[in-house]
């Protein structure tokens, strides 16, 4: 009896070894490469996503190396040159100069820094918080924790994000940090709501139930079983949200509640320039176009990331 069992095991092992040998050799590296190719194919299926990616990379690159690529890096700060103030676009100043004689192109590129910094920090704080609360609420659906989290979320979603952000930023000292705090405070509930829906449907799936049955802890189920299933939607929303955060940041700085002068910011440039309309149109129009390009770029890229992370071949997208 025991002998035959041993023989059986040996036979099975030999079979397994043979199977391993016959399997086509694919290293881990190659597998990743294949996945990457597939993802890239999905991403670039829509040409606009490619354009968006290029725009975003260009903006990030120019923000990082603003000191080296801008024609007049010194114009980014408190610099005055009245001899060259209010100049229309020319070969010397590609996008003209503002009322202090500062190059608009330089100031636009430097203002990308604040905008990106704000978007990254706001999302880096609000997304983990929102996702965690959403999963917790979804997993503990029907308990007091769920009710508490979701009602608080409802409260924050009951007022337009911009309005509450304006209110919070206005009662604090006007600067970039406080503007970021205000926007962060408004941003997490969207992720909580998004993840909550997915977590509630996940908790009734067989893989979660069986994980619970074989004795997995709550933390394991939340982070290892449910979380990975929510991530693709979260990443898609994040990519789209970068543009929105920049938009709200520009709106805050438009009314003077964001980055303070002399540090340039897009919204503040638009509002400063609006006082010189219609004669010095370039002061308003070019920063406006810059805002539009940033938001469009991130939106197109976000759509592409959505296509890439979506299941299926994305043909219908």
């Amino acid at each position: 009896m025991i002998k035959s069992r041993d023989a059986e095991i040996k036979k099975a092992l030999a079979y397994e070894a043979k199977r391993q040998e016959e399997r086509p050799v694919t290293s881990n590296f190659q597998k990743h490469l294949d996945n990457l190719k597939k993802a890239g194919h999905k991403f670039f299926r829509n040409k606009l996503s490619g354009v968006g990616l290029a725009v975003v990379l260009l903006i990030i690159f120019s923000a990082i190396f603003a000191n080296y690529i801008t024609p007049y890096p010194i114009h980014a700060g408190a610099y005055v040159d009245f001899a060259h103030s209010n100049q229309p676009p020319s070969a010397q100043f590609l996008l003209g100069t503002d009322n202090m004689g500062r190059d608009i192109l330089t100031r636009i590129i430097f203002s990308f820094r604040g905008a990106l910094y704000m978007a990254v920090l706001v999302l880096a704080i609000s997304v983990p918080v929102g996702v965690f609360l959403g999963i917790l609420g979804g997993y503990l659906k029907g308990t007091i924790v769920d009710t508490l989290i979701m009602r608080i979320t409802d409260v924050f979603l009951s007022v337009p994000a911009l309005l509450l952000a304006l209110a919070v930023a206005s009662v604090l000292k006007p600067n970039l940090t406080n503007a970021m705090m205000a926007v962060t405070l408004m941003w997490w509930p969207w992720y909580t709501r998004l993840v909550y829906g997915m977590a509630t449907s996940c908790r009734n799936e067989n893989f979660v139930i069986s994980a619970g049955l074989i004795g997995a802890g709550k933390a394991h189920i939340i982070f290892k079983e449910i979380l990975p299933n929510c991530l693709s939607a979260v990443f898609t929303k994040m990519a789209l949200d970068v543009g929105w955060v920049i938009l709200i940041g520009a709106t805050l700085s438009y009314v003077g509640l964001g980055e303070q002068p002399p540090t340039p910011s897009l919204g503040q440039m638009v509002s400063d320039g609006a006082r010189y309309l219609p004669d010095s149109w370039w002061m308003t129009v070019f920063p406006s176009i810059a805002i539009i390009i940033i938001i469009l770029g991130f939106n197109f890229m976000g759509d592409g990331i959505g296509d890439m992370l979506s299941k299926g071949d994305g043909k219908d997208a």
């Binding site: 009951s158 337009p160 911009l162 309005l163 209110a167 938009l247 709106t251 309309l277 805002i291």
Partner: protein, 369 residues
């Protein structure tokens, strides 16, 4: 009434009620429950919002009494102010006093205008509602019209234009659009007035609702109406343009997607007129995704009005709120946000009911959401 006639009526009614069981009974039990649930939830939400607003108004660094009375106030005046406004009591008690006042319509005194906040809001709210309502009407009618047109002429120039404008609508911030419109109609092509609510020399209509266009119509003063309407046009356009093209795209996408559905092919096979299909059987279900988004967008109009009103010099509650924010007038800020939150919640309830009406799965199936 003879017996035969009444019997025929009776049977035909019987058959009708058999065929379309929910047609006449309208709201099912589940739907009523759904609405009730929604109302209760929104009361909880508004209550929670009041707590949040109270917290915001109290996180301000600095002494609220000093902020209200200014740097030159004497110590005695500060003490009296604190005692009058319950500032010495613990925060939860302060909240109770505040919410008691709010429930009776007392939002406190605005430090900016030195008047009761409720009086200021009553004065400024109609102007904002006027713009927002007009913008909402533009948004709904414009998006449905454009969306249907784009779906009907799929892959035409018009379709492409709606697509491009919908992308632009996402990307162009409200304040940029407002400034550009100001430049366009104020300078390049001055066909309509852009600033204020009325031209100089035209007297304001009698204050019935506070909305100039409506008041002038009610009092039969058509020249004032024309002037007020022209003035309101640009702010309303600046408000609704972004959302309008996005909703148009949603309507268009839903319609083109539904066009391929089997039930429409079957209807066409039965010989149902094409126009009826287009106007009813294709149109109604295609509105569902757009209507939920429109609700969000119409609510967002209220917050976008914050900048638009400042730019166009429109004397509404948003401009008042914006000034209050810049002046750190806490009573006015909390009053304005609470009013906005309440309006936002009400709009959301209305949208939920409309969606439920359009979508029989929610109306008859028991409101799972």
């Amino acid at each position: 009434m003879d017996a035969g006639g009444s019997r025929i009526v009776h049977t035909s009614f019987f058959y009708r009620s058999q065929e379309i069981p929910h047609k006449k009974s309208g709201l099912s039990m589940n739907f009523k429950k759904f609405i009730l649930n929604r109302l209760l939830l929104s009361i909880v939400v508004i209550f929670g919002l009041s707590i949040v607003i109270f917290c915001i108004a109290r996180i301000v660094p600095g002494d609220p009494a000093r902020m209200a009375l200014g740097a030159t106030a004497t110590e005695h005046a500060l003490e009296t102010f604190r005692a009058e406004n319950h500032l010495k009591e613990p925060l939860p008690m302060q909240y109770v006093y505040w919410i008691k006042g709010v429930l009776t319509g007392d939002f406190g005194i605005s430090t900016m205008t030195k008047r009761p906040v409720i009086q200021d809001m009553m004065e400024f709210l109609p102007a904002t509602l006027e713009v927002v309502i007009l913008a909402a009407v533009f948004l709904v009618l414009g998006s449905i019209f454009l969306g249907r047109l784009a779906a009907k002429h799929k892959d035409s120039v018009l379709d492409a234009a709606v697509r491009v404008f919908s992308y632009a609508g996402v990307a162009i911030p409200g304040f940029v659009l407002a400034v550009l419109l100001l430049l366009l109609f104020g300078y390049v092509w001055p066909i309509i007035p852009v600033l204020g609510r009325l031209s100089h020399g035209i007297a304001a209509p009698p204050g019935i609702t506070g909305m100039y266009t409506l008041d002038s119509l009610l009092s039969g003063n058509f020249s004032t109406f024309g002037d007020a309407f022209l003035h309101i046009l640009t702010p309303a356009l600046a408000l609704c343009a972004g959302g309008m093209f996005q909703e148009a795209r949603l309507v268009r996408n839903a319609m083109t997607e539904n066009m391929g559905k089997d039930y429409l092919a079957a209807m066409e096979g039965y010989g149902v007129p094409k126009r009826l299909i287009m106007n009813k059987y294709l149109f109604k279900p295609s509105l569902i995704p757009a209507v939920s988004c429109m609700g969000m967008d119409i609510a967002a109009l209220m917050s976008n009005a914050f900048l638009i009103e400042v730019i166009f010099g429109w004397p509404g509650i948003s401009k008042y709120g914006m000034n209050a924010m810049l002046a750190k007038d806490l009573n006015a800020i909390s009053g304005v946000i609470l009013i906005f939150g309440t309006i936002f919640v009400v709009i959301n309830i209305i949208v939920d009911i409309i969606v439920a009406y359009l979508d029989p799965r929610i109306r008859l199936g028991g409101g799972k959401q």
